[in-house]
Assembly symmetry: C2
Homo-oligomer: 117 residues x 2
């Protein structure tokens, strides 16, 4: 099956397309990238990340801050944890969450720049 049969096109700019093809990454890389950005693609999660820029907070603090249930927050923190965007430490009954690294702040700031222009 040719590319043309998939895209239903006859006249393709072949040199540009083949040049671009060389610069493209593996499919898995794009999936990994989009999976990362999915974490920033939800208001609740981006609030959590932004809140944790300031200081570490426990699940209760975050739930109170966002006005949401502990369960909802815990579910989202789990997703952020799986994407290595937050880390945590346990202390007694509390679990304190914090940002995993500086990229998180940089990515959020980059987005804010785009919004505010």
């Amino acid at each position: 099956m040719t590319d043309e049969s998939v895209c239903q096109c006859d006249h393709i700019h072949e040199t540009e397309v083949s040049n671009t093809k060389k610069t493209m990454l593996k499919d898995d890389d794009y999936i990994a990238l989009s999976t990362l950005y999915k974490m920033f693609a939800d208001p609740t999660r981006i609030k959590l990340l932004h809140a944790l820029e300031k200081s570490e907070l426990c699940v209760c603090d975050l739930a109170a801050l966002l006005g949401m249930t502990k369960s909802a927050i815990s579910h989202q923190l789990k997703a952020l944890k799986l994407s290595d965007l937050v880390k945590f430490r346990k202390e007694g009954q509390n679990v304190y969450y914090s940002l995993a690294d500086d990229h998180v702040k940089l990515i959020i700031d980059m987005g804010l720049e785009h919004i505010n222009e």
Copy 2:
């Protein structure tokens, strides 16, 4: 209704929470931010953006490059257009798309950095 009644928590670190609250943005800002990142949160769209880093391409080119139908590509380009991530120019039957500004490349590169560590 108090925050506590929503989050089901009794012992909240009040000073940390109220300090963090001061640094938080308006809800609309978080919605705008997450809406922006939603555009990067899909493999097809991030491929389109990455492809357009190299040179402008028409819908047919992009469809051929990604091995997808013109319709699917057109739908995603519309979303990217609405988020001001791509711009376009018409020439005869063709519509050439290109990146709207440099932020797009920066945001993708930032994500790649996080992946490759």
